[in-house]
Every structure is written in C-alpha cells, then in structure tokens.
C-alpha cells in the first residue's frame, strides 16, 4: 500500500498550503511545490524497489501480482468494496504526467493568483490527489470516489478564481461530469450485482469483475454507462459542450490541470475499464465510437478555427486532439493504443503549455481576444518563440511527441477502418490551419506600441523549457515512453481482441 503515501502526501500538502497562507503570503506556493516534490521522490523510491526487468515484462491483466505495484485492504466488506491500489506502466506514465503538470500549474499560478492563495493551492493539491487516485484505484467504487472527489476542488478553482462567466462554467462542468458519473456508478453497481449473482460474493475489484459472463445485451447497456461517463470527461463528440466554457473561464492553473490531466482520466478509463470489462460489447460498439472520434477530430478543428478567444480556440483544439484518443482506443491494436497513450502525454504537455501562455497573456493584457492582440513577439520574444514551438507541436509537426502520437493512431486505425483514418487525417490539416491562425493573430503581425507587456519570468521559463524538452524527447526518442506502456498494451491486446 505504498501507493497510498502518494495520496496522503498530496492531500496533506493541500491542507498545509491552506494553513501556510496564514503565516506568510506566498508561502503556500512553496509548500505546494515542496509536497509535489516529496510525492515525486516517494514515487521514485517506490519504483527503485522494483527490479528493472519487471518493467519490461508483460503483465497479466487479471493477475494483480504481475503488476508493478499492487496493494489491497478491506474497506467496506459489506459490499466487497476494498481499498485496492495498483500501478502498471500506463498508470505510471499518467501519474508522472500528473505530478509534472501539477508542478507546472503551481508555477502558472505564481503571480496570477492574488486572493486566497492558500485555498487556491489547497484546491490544486486536492485535485492532483483525486486525479492520481483515479489513475491508481483498481476497485470500481474507489475509482468512482476519486473520480468525483477531484471534481469538487476543480469546481472551486473555476468558481472562485475563474473569469467573468465563472459560475455558469463551473456549474456546467460539474453537472455534466456528475450526471455522467452517476450513470457510470449505476453501470458499476449493475455489473457488480451480476457478478455477485454468479460468484456468490460481493466484489467491486477490477480483477474480479474482468471475468464476467454477461449476456450481450446487458453488457452493451452497462458498457454504455461506462462509455458515456468516460467520454463526457474525455470529451468526445457530442458530449464536449462543457469543455470550452470550463477551460475558458478557469484560471490558468485550472486550465492547465483540466486540459493536461483531467481529460486524460476519461481516456484512461476507456483503456482500463470500458474495453477490457466488456470486450464483446465494445467490438459491437467500436464503429460508432470511432465515428464519434472522427467527428470529434473534424468538428473540434472546425470550431477551433472559428474562435476569436485564445483559450477557447485551444479548448476546441483539445476536443479535436482527444478525438484521436477515442479513435486509438477503439481501433484496439497495439499501434493505435500506443498512439493514444502517446497522445495523452504529448497533448498534456503541449496544451498545458499553450494554456499557460494564454494565461500569461490574459494576466498581462486583461483580454483573451485574438483581435485585440498582434505583434506581441516584439515585446515578448521569449514567449513568442515558445508559443511558436508549442503551436507547432500541437499541430503535429514531426519531431515532436504529438506527431508520433497521431501518426501511430492513424496507422493503427488504417488497419481497421481505412476510410475513417483518411477522414480523420483531415483533422491534421485543419489543425495546421487554426494553429497558424492562432500564432499569426497573437504574436505575429504589425507590432502595437500600446502593448508592451513584460516577458516570461525565469520561473515560468523553467517550466516552459521543461515541457519543451519533454515534447522534443517524446518526438525524437518516443521509445522511452513506449517502453513503459508497451507491456501493458501487449497484455491488453493479447488478451482481448476486437
């Protein structure tokens, strides 16, 4: 149960940050960073205890002992609910991403947040707690618990420190996720009850539920519950309507976390739960899911092109990019899933960086309207250069992580649904168009003398450089990431074939 330490450290870090506010203004930011660092160290320590070959060995999905780390303790034996935490390559990647972007979001909020700093940092830390919990919880109810718990601090982040329309955006975000979450809960309970009737005992453990012999129609309904729950979070077309509002209205750190991490929980859920739990139902449903994914790719891109709001544009681009994840997951071959996983990491980094730039602009210019910008390169060359880089990454320029990811997804999809792969690749072209529009309207063009905002600070630069390096590494040595997730994907695709 070492994994529990991770959660406890982050949770206490949140509380400490809140309390720290009372001692010195600005102390809570350092506390947050400190606790994230401690969490990272403790994760490293855990990993260092695992013999190196284990990382490369294919685990058996149903057998938790073959996973990297696994721990289980009874929690509510009445319903067979246990406190079951486990880590495999997939979770590991996402947990690392979460910790990294967590630190980035703390830096992103460094100067931006003036009021109630302590509580702000506390909410960031608690969101991270919830997200990491989602990535490592392997008991369905525990998973659901973290799934919901991460919403509350996120809601508060948007509702308290958000921009002009924050109340509505926060509400929309919460209600969408909560209602779909309830559907998912219903599906979970239904699944557990049918397995209970077969096994004779209650269990919500992932490993017990994998062996369900549900009839196909029932499995389809339950699968749909999970699918909707995760797709809303992803967000897949047509459940994406909450996302532009939430991303736009959230404070920078909130947007970074939302786009960088929270969306990934949906994708993670699809890979981890939806398909493995209901392989046959998923096969039947795959065409529809892929159609939704492809629509998301194209539709998101088209809408992004129409935006004049910096954050909104990036938000719609997320819809488009996450469409690739849906494609990758439901194409269900090693190549496509690898692409999807890659996309999670790469998109996390690039979008987080873009939102950070957007936040920095808003903080300096008090607007997100692209039409009021232009020629900013002149006064902020560092920021301009970074923006250029991340936009290029986001549109999928070869040599960066996003290219690898989208290429893998499309390659994988082509083996299954060649025509849809062709349609989806249109998303790459449109992506290039809106991305270039973004950079042109904001940083390029005639310089405006009235706008002379200060450039990025050293601290922000360090975070940006870190993300930059990350993306380049992903693009040039993708094998580093692929090696970690490969065993898991091998295990999944060998046990379940669509």
């Amino acid at each position: 149960m070492e994994l529990l330490n991770l959660l406890i450290i982050l949770f206490i870090g949140g509380a400490a940050a809140w309390v720290g506010e009372h001692f010195s203004k600005g102390l809570s930011r350092w506390i947050s960073l400190l606790f994230i660092a401690v969490a990272a160290v403790s994760l490293l320590e855990m990993l260092s205890n695992i013999p190196a070959p284990t990382f490369l060995k294919d685990p058996i999905t149903k057998d938790p002992t073959t996973w990297l780390i696994h721990g289980r303790a009874d929690w509510i034996p009445r319903f067979g609910i246990s406190f079951e935490l486990a880590l495999d390559g997939l979770s590991l990647l996402l947990v690392v991403l979460t910790l990294f972007l967590g630190a980035v979001s703390v830096i992103a909020s460094w100067d931006e947040i003036d009021k109630h700093q302590g509580f702000f940092q506390a909410n960031i830390m608690w969101t991270l707690t919830g997200v990491i919990g989602v990535f490592i919880a392997l008991d369905l109810i525990l998973f659901f618990l973290f799934w919901e718990v991460m919403l509350v601090p996120m809601y508060l982040l948007i509702a308290i420190w958000g921009h002009e329309d924050k109340a509505k955006a926060a509400m929309k975000f919460f209600i969408f996720t909560q209602v779909s979450g309830l559907l998912m809960l219903l599906a979970m309970i239904t699944l557990a009850i049918f397995v209970k009737d077969a096994n004779g005992y209650w269990s919500f453990s992932y490993f017990d539920l994998l062996d369900n012999n549900l009839t196909s129609s029932l499995a389809t309904f339950i699968m749909l519950g999970f699918f909707i729950g995760f797709t809303v979070k992803l967000p897949g077309f047509p459940f994406h309507t909450w996302l532009p509002d939430a991303h736009t209205q959230a404070p920078t750190a909130g947007s970074v976390i939302l786009a960088g991490i929270l969306l990934k929980t949906g994708a993670y859920g699809l890979i981890r739960f939806t398909v493995p739990l209901f392989p046959e139902a998923s096969i039947a449903f795959a065409p529809i899911a892929i159609l939704l994914g492809a629509s998301g790719v194209v539709y998101g891109a088209i809408l992004a092109f129409g935006q004049t709001d910096f954050k909104r544009l990036v938000a719609y681009s997320s819809v488009s990019h996450m469409g690739f994840v849906l494609l990758g997951v439901f194409a269900w071959n090693a190549l496509a899933i690898q692409g999807a996983v890659m996309q999670l990491v790469a998109h996390g980094l690039s979008t987080a960086a873009l939102f950070m730039i957007a936040g920095a602009l808003q903080h300096r210019l008090h607007t997100r309207d692209l039409q009021k910008m232009g020629g900013l390169w002149q006064s902020m060359p560092r920021m301009g250069a970074l923006a250029m880089f991340f936009i290029a990454a986001s549109l999928g320029l070869p040599g960066m992580g996003n290219f690898i990811a989208e290429f893998l997804v499309l390659a994988g999809l082509f083996q299954v649904y060649p025509w849809l792969a062709v349609v989806s690749s249109a998303g790459l072209i449109t992506g290039a168009i809106y991305s270039l529009k973004l950079i042109q309207e904001s940083f390029q063009g005639a310089p405006d003398d009235t706008l002379t905002p200060p450039d990025f600070s050293a601290l922000a630069m360090s975070a940006m450089i870190a993300m930059l390096i990350g993306l380049i590494v992903l693009g040039i040595f993708p094998q580093l990431v692929l090696d970690i997730s490969q065993p898991v994907i091998n295990a999944l695709t060998s046990e379940i074939t669509l």
Partner: protein, 487 residues
C-alpha cells in the same frame, strides 16, 4: 411491567422525568441557562440509556417494541435534539419574551419521536405522532409576535390535523378488516385474496384494505411532505424559528419515516401491488417536484424544504425495491436506515448554520446573500456547510454517497430502472442548487453584512456533525454491520 420493561423504556422515562423537572424549574425559577443545562442533561441521560440498551430486543406491551434498529434511530434523534438545544440556546438568548418553555417542548417533541420509532401498534403510532406534532406546533408558533411563524404554525396545525384524520380513518378501515391495531396482525395474513375476511366477497374486502392503506399512505405523505402533499413544507420551514426548521427537517421527518418503515415491513404492505405503484408515483413526483422547485429559491430554508422533499422521494425507492427483493421486505431497513441517518446529520448541519446566521442577524430568514463570503470569514463553518451540501448532492466521502450507493444497489437488484433514471435526473438537477449555495459562499464578502461568529457549543456541534457525516461516508462498515446483523 417487569424490570426488562422498565429498562427498555428507560430512555422515554428519562425524557419524561426531564420534562417534569423542567416544568417545575420554569414554574419556580426562570433562568435560560439553567433550563438549557437541564435539557442537555436530560438528553445525555437518555443517550446513556439508549447506548445501554443497544442490544436489547424486547416487546414492551403491544405498544412498543424496543429493538436495536429503533434504538439506533432514537440515538440519532436524541443526538440531534441535543445539538438543536445548543443551537436554540444561541438563538433564544437575545430574544425578548419568555423563552424557557421552548426547551420543555423540545424535550416533549423528542419524546414523541422516540415513541414513534418504537411503535408497533397503531395507537402508539398515532400518539407518538401527535405528541411530536403538538409540541412542534407550539415550537413553530413560539415567536408568536411574528406573523410568519403564526402563519406557519396554523398551516402546520391544520394540515397535520387533516393528515392525522386521514391516517385515523385508514386505521379504522384496516381495523374493520383485521380486528387488530397491532402491526404484525395487520395485513400479514392477507397477502392472498382468499384469506381476506368476509366469506361473501373477498374482492371488496381487499378494496377496503386498499382504501385504508391509501388513506394511511396519504396521511404519512403529508407528514413526510412527499409531493403532491408537500405544499405546506416550504412555508412552514420558512416561518419556523430556525432551530425548529432543523427539527422539522430532521427528527420529525426521520421519526415518521422510521415508524413508516416498521409499519411497511412488519405489516407487509409490499404485498399489495397497488400500494407499491402508489409509492412509485409518489417517489417520482417528489423527486422531480422537489428538485425543480428548489432551483429558483433564494431563501435557504425554502431551498432545504424542497430538497428534503426530493430526498424522501429517493428514500422511497428503497421501500419500493425491498418488496420485490425479499418476501417480507426486510431488506428495506438497512439502506433506508443508513440513508436516513446520513440525511439527518447532513441536514442538521445546514439548518444549524442557518440558525447561527439568524441568531447573529437577529432575523428569521437566511438568504443566499447571507452566506456570501463565508469561506473567507469563517472557513471552518464554510467547510462544514460544504460537506453538508456535498453530502446532500451525494458526492463520495460523505454519508450521502453511501446512502445513494445503497439506493442504487437496491434499485438495480430490483430492476427499478425507471426510478433509477429519475433518481439520476433528480440528482443532476439537485447539484445545481447545492452548488449555487457553495458558490455564494465563495463570492466576495463585501456584499454581505452578516458577521458570523457563533458561540463555541454551536461551532463544536456543527463540527461534530460534519465529522459524523464524513465518518459515515469514509468508514461505513461498522454501522452497516450493526444494521445488517440487527435486522
């Protein structure tokens, strides 16, 4: 009356003795502090006896059955009554007029709630109900210079009178068929038409049972304010003194539900499909009406009133589902008891906070604007209220979530898909207004004039309740086992 009888009745006797002592004290020496002290001691004594008899299962005369389940409910009620006392003291101490009798009535109303929980006989059912109702009537009208509270009291009096009449008529019809007022003898033998009494026409005898049960159902729905019998609830909640709003929303409703649960389970009402259909309709309407009408409320008391309507709609699902699951409907007990306990603690936090606001503003009502900026002025209380609201919304780590989990489990096992979908829709709507409350707590404090700094006992009570709600949400196993093994 044997020794065990007296032991079983000791909590009620403790309250009766407490009420008598209070009466004498008020007659000779008016002192609010002393009165509060005696009331608290009374409740503590009652709690002591209740904890002493948790394992006791004893039928004391046909009227009352003391069993672990009802003892559990009683513990919840007395605990809440004790907290209500603290809150009331804060509320009353700066108010004009004679405020001592308030606590006497609180003790009597609590006694009514315990009698109601222990009732296994229609006579004790109605007596407990009326004892609680009459004491509450006095409590609602307590600030009788206030037009709002008088209006609320009269509404409560008239409507609860009407509902009692419906109940009594229903009881009379059942008695006409079965010749008994004792729960176990009521309907248990009547599951099949041929057993029904008259040799001439079992059909009509069955109709008579249905008619009687329908009247009882209507009467109980009034007391539980299920839609469409809910009209009085928001007005009465709004007009009552704030601590009494809490009492009405928690103990009063809880006790009626506890008694109904027992009547339903022991009386085996689930054998009548018509009754189950009626409950289903009530449940659906309550969930939808309660949640939809809560959306537009600015007054927190009214909002909580509508939310309570919805919550009792959720609770009914357990009753409806239980009938199809087990032959005697006994499986309804565990989920609904858990849900109810969680709901009561949760709601008491919210109403307690309203009372604290009303006490510091010296006003009856608390609007959304009154809690603006609470997060920055008093983070501890804001956290308490947030936990309470999240629990009402059914977010994990709170008692509300475990309750909802139970309801889901019951519903799925019984295959009540329609009710479950309504539940999901209702919860979705519900989140909106709970979040609105949380949101207004986070807004800029400058727009609000209230300074909220309740006295220590109130703060401690609210924190205790919050810890209870979190405890029930995080570590539910002990209570689940207690409920499972003892039912």
């Amino acid at each position: 009356m044997t020794g065990t009888d007296f032991l079983a009745l000791s909590p009620i006797i403790a309250l009766a003795v407490g009420a008598s002592v209070l009466l004498l004290q008020i007659a000779f020496l008016r002192n609010l502090k002393l009165t509060t002290g005696i009331t608290v001691v009374t409740f503590l004594a009652c709690l002591f006896f209740l904890f002493y008899i948790t394992k006791l299962n004893h039928q004391t005369t046909p009227l009352l059955l003391v069993d672990p389940l009802s003892t559990f409910f009683s513990i919840v009620f007395v605990l809440c009554a004790c907290i209500t006392t603290f809150i009331s003291y804060e509320y009353l101490k700066n108010r004009p007029g004679r405020n001592d009798e308030f606590f006497l009535l609180v003790v009597l109303a609590t006694m009514g709630s315990i009698v109601l929980t222990y009732a296994t006989h229609l006579a004790s059912f109605i007596l407990g109900l009326e004892l609680m109702g009459i004491a509450l009537y006095g409590l609602i009208a307590y600030p009788h210079q206030d037009d709002m509270s008088l209006e609320a009291a009269i509404k409560y009096l008239v409507l609860s009178g009407a509902s009692s009449a419906a109940l009594l008529f229903g009881f009379a019809l059942l008695y006409a068929i079965t010749g008994s007022l004792f729960f176990p003898d009521l309907l248990s033998g009547l599951a099949s038409p041929e057993v029904a009494v008259g040799p001439q026409s079992p059909f009509w005898a069955r109709q008579l049972i249905l008619l009687g049960s329908a009247l009882i159902l209507a009467g109980i729905s009034f007391k539980l304010s299920l839609a469409p019998f809910h009209m009085w609830t928001p007005d009465v909640y709004e007009g009552s003194p704030a601590p009494i709003t809490g009492f009405l929303a928690t103990i009063s409703k809880g006790a009626v539900f506890a008694a109904t649960l027992r009547l339903y389970v022991i009386g085996e009402f689930h054998n009548f499909p018509t009754i189950v259909t009626g409950l289903t309709i009530l449940s659906i309407i309550s969930i939808l009406v309660g949640n939809l009408l809560a959306l537009r409320q600015e007054n927190i008391k009214r909002l909580l009133a509508y939310s309570s309507i919805a919550h009792f709609g959720y609770l009914l699902i357990a009753l409806i589902a239980a009938g199809t699951l087990t032959p005697n409907g006994i499986s309804a007990i565990e989920p609904s008891a858990y849900y109810l306990a969680g709901y009561i603690f949760t709601t008491l936090i919210a109403t307690g906070l309203i009372a604290a606001i009303s006490s510091s503003n010296n006003e009856e009502n608390a609007n959304l604007s009154d809690i603006a900026g609470l997060f920055w002025k008093n983070p501890l209380l804001a956290l308490c209220l947030s936990v309470s609201l999240l629990s009402l919304a059914g977010i994990p780590l709170t008692a509300g979530f475990i309750g909802k989990l139970y309801i889901f489990q019951m519903g799925v096992e019984a295959g009540a898909w329609l009710l479950l979908s309504i539940l999901i829709i209702g919860s979705g709507i519900g989140i909106y207004y709970y979040l609105r409350l949380i949101f207004s707590m986070t807004t800029d404090p400058s727009s609000s004039r209230s300074t909220l700094a309740p006295a220590l006992p109130v703060t401690v009570s609210l924190i205790t309740l919050t810890i209870l709600v979190l405890y029930l949400g995080i570590y539910p196993q002990p209570l689940m086992e207690y409920l499972l093994w003892n039912t």
